[in-house]
Amino acid sequence: MTAEILLQLGLSGLTSGATYGLIALGFITIYRATNILNLAQGDFVMLGGMLTVLGMQRYGIPYAASAAGAVLCTGLVGVAAERLVIHPIRNKPLLISIMATIGISMSLSGAALLLFGTSPRSLPPLLPFGGFELPGGVRVSAQTLTVLAACGVLLLSFRLFSKRTWLGKAMEAAATDRLGADLVGISRSNSRMMAFGLSAAMGAAAGVLITPLYFMQYNAGGLLGLKGFAAAVIGGWGSYLGAVLGGLVLGVLESLGLAFIPAGYKDGLAFVALLAILAFRSKGLLGSRALQEARK
């Protein structure tokens, strides 16, 4: 076990961690605007990647245009899902809304199964150059940098959006204080719809970014989504920074775990970490009011 291997593992952990962080951002966006947990988030990610592949391979659209189209389409799917499914059950108990998002997730992966079949798909890297080698013999690929950069940019823009713009503030107000939002004339219904569209588009962008790194398949969304959710909880539920931090921690943990335990256990590690966090440090790494309230 040399230092280079550990470093290389750490780096690949950061990459997958950034993808978890991107997915977690989508969860947080919906949660902060609606107090709903959207378990279909992973399928938005899958849809983003798969639609890009579809656009490029079946219709020969250029990469960038295809990716933009996929993000737009997935955003529309998010809006449609909100109007058709979440809106009618907005006043129903929590369990119903959780199950409804599971239903959305099943329908989306079912649709992907019909559209794309069962074979795993991949994309070429977003940037044309291949990457470079650090002095210690550690390889850094361009896609890794792209993912990390995108994660940073999206984190920053979401923070600014929710703190500095009227729209972002209104969306958060709608979830924080329902009566207050109604009184000052914020439409909760519209803000819910926008939040779903936004986070679906955001998930699709994550999908476009990670498809070159991993293979994407019609049923990949479930596990990706759950790990993104776990990341958001580990970092401190409810904050954008916590989501990304939790993602990075989770990614590095999984990747370094590979050095010490058999590879098959990797997918379980996230949930062990999650249960440990929930049991021992219930507010997450950064601290979260929502989490602490949930564990009284």
């Binding site: 947990l37 058709l84 499914v85 009618p88 059950i89 129903k92 108990p93 929590l94 369990l95 119903i96 959780i98 199950m99 409804a100 599971i102 239903g103 959305i104 997730s105 099943m106 329908s107 989306l108 992966s109 079912g110 649709a111 199964l113 019909l114 479930g222 596990l223 759950l226 959710f229 776990a230 909880v233 539920w237 058999p262 098959g264 256990y265 997918d267 379980g268 996230a270 949930f271 062990v272 999650l274 249960l275 929930l278 049991a279 219930s282 989490l291 949930a294 564990r295 009284k296």
Partner: protein, 328 residues
């Protein structure tokens, strides 16, 4: 003075006799097979119904307990010379103990976090069963399990299996019904309504939630043990999130807080799933859409939902002034 517990109503005895004649009357192997599966699900869903409908908690992770029960029975039956009945009994004990140990930390959580933690249990269970292949047989699982035999009577034909499973389901149903109408059931409902109220009344919410959790894990484990006995094989894929979602759906469709509804819901959803599985690649999307439709149009459960609509309809037409209502 003790309150006398209700055991049966007269109507129920007639219904049970009719239901007991069903497998003989509709005598086909495929019918028996599907009814056996429905019975397994009903067993798992009963405990979950107590946990969710009465104690007011959320669990999308009970397939882990079903799997734990199934693997307990399978491992004991393959690797030890224990009689199969003891293996089946162990399938109730091991998940119960696991739930008792895991209960305290997990049940402190609420809402989404409880749901997530229980989903986490399923994922961890899947990874463990796949990876510990010296014990569990890995991805392929364990097969060629011996049939359950009780004092020389071997349950190896679908007809016998239907009776075995449904007899146990009925026992579990009677037990859950009495449990829910006992002091425990009332305590569960108070905990569900408000934990602070429960504390003021001297009921410990933690202990009540843990008991409901353990009970649900025991029935789920028993369902798993029966699964192993009936199918003769277990594998990790069978106990994934899909099964958990199906169990929760049965409870919701049957109506939260209704035990007969849960039985009916498990019959309905099992038949739906069996019917859909014939359509291969279309089954996933159709299942997802039906799930959404059930939740959107019948969030209180399909029987209650249809019942309410029927009552509305009757009331509208039975009303003396319904023509006036329509004209208005």
């Amino acid at each position: 003075m003790r309150v006398k517990q209700l055991l049966f109503t007269r109507m129920e005895v007639y219904l049970v006799i009719l239901a007991a004649l069903m497998p003989l009357w509709l005598n086909s192997v495929s019918f028996h097979h599907v009814m056996t599966i429905a019975g397994l699900y009903a067993m798992g869903a009963l405990g979950l119904s107590v946990f969710m409908g009465f104690a007011g908690q959320i669990s999308i992770g009970h397939s882990a307990f079903v799997g734990l029960g199934a693997y307990t029975t399978a491992i004991l039956a393959v690797k030890t010379p224990l009689p199969t009945m003891a293996c089946l009994a162990a399938s109730a004990v091991v998940p119960g103990l696991t739930a008792w140990i895991m209960g305290r930390p997990i049940l402190k959580l609420r809402e989404y976090f409880l749901a997530l933690a229980t989903i986490g249990l399923v994922q961890i269970f899947q990874v463990l069963t796949t990876e510990l292949d010296w014990l569990t047989g890995g991805v392929e699982g364990l097969y060629n399990l011996p049939w359950l035999s009780v004092f020389g009577l071997s349950f190896d034909r679908p007809l016998e299996q239907v009776y075995l499973v449904w007899a146990l389901v009925y026992l579990a149903f009677l037990f859950s019904r009495n449990l829910c109408s006992s002091a425990y059931g009332r305590a569960f409902r108070i905990v569900a309504a408000s934990e602070d109220t429960a504390r003021t009344l001297g009921i410990s919410p933690e202990s009540m939630k843990t008991r409901a959790f353990v009970f649900s894990a025991v029935t789920a484990g028993l369902a798993g043990g029966l699964y192993a006995c009936v199918f003769g094989s277990v594998s990790p894929q069978a106990f994934g999130l899909d099964m958990s979602v199906m169990l929760v759906l049965m409870v919701i469709v049957g109506g939260m807080g209704s035990l007969p509804g849960t039985l009916a819901g498990s019959l309905l959803i099992t038949w739906l799933a069996t019917w859909l599985s014939g359509y291969q690649q279309y089954s996933l999307i159709v299942y997802g859409i039906i799930l959404i439709m059930l939740l959107v149009f019948f969030p209180e459960g399909i029987f209650r939902g249809i019942g309410a609509r029927w009552v509305d309809l009757v009331r509208t037409y039975a009303d003396q002034d319904w023509r006036k209502e329509l004209r208005r």
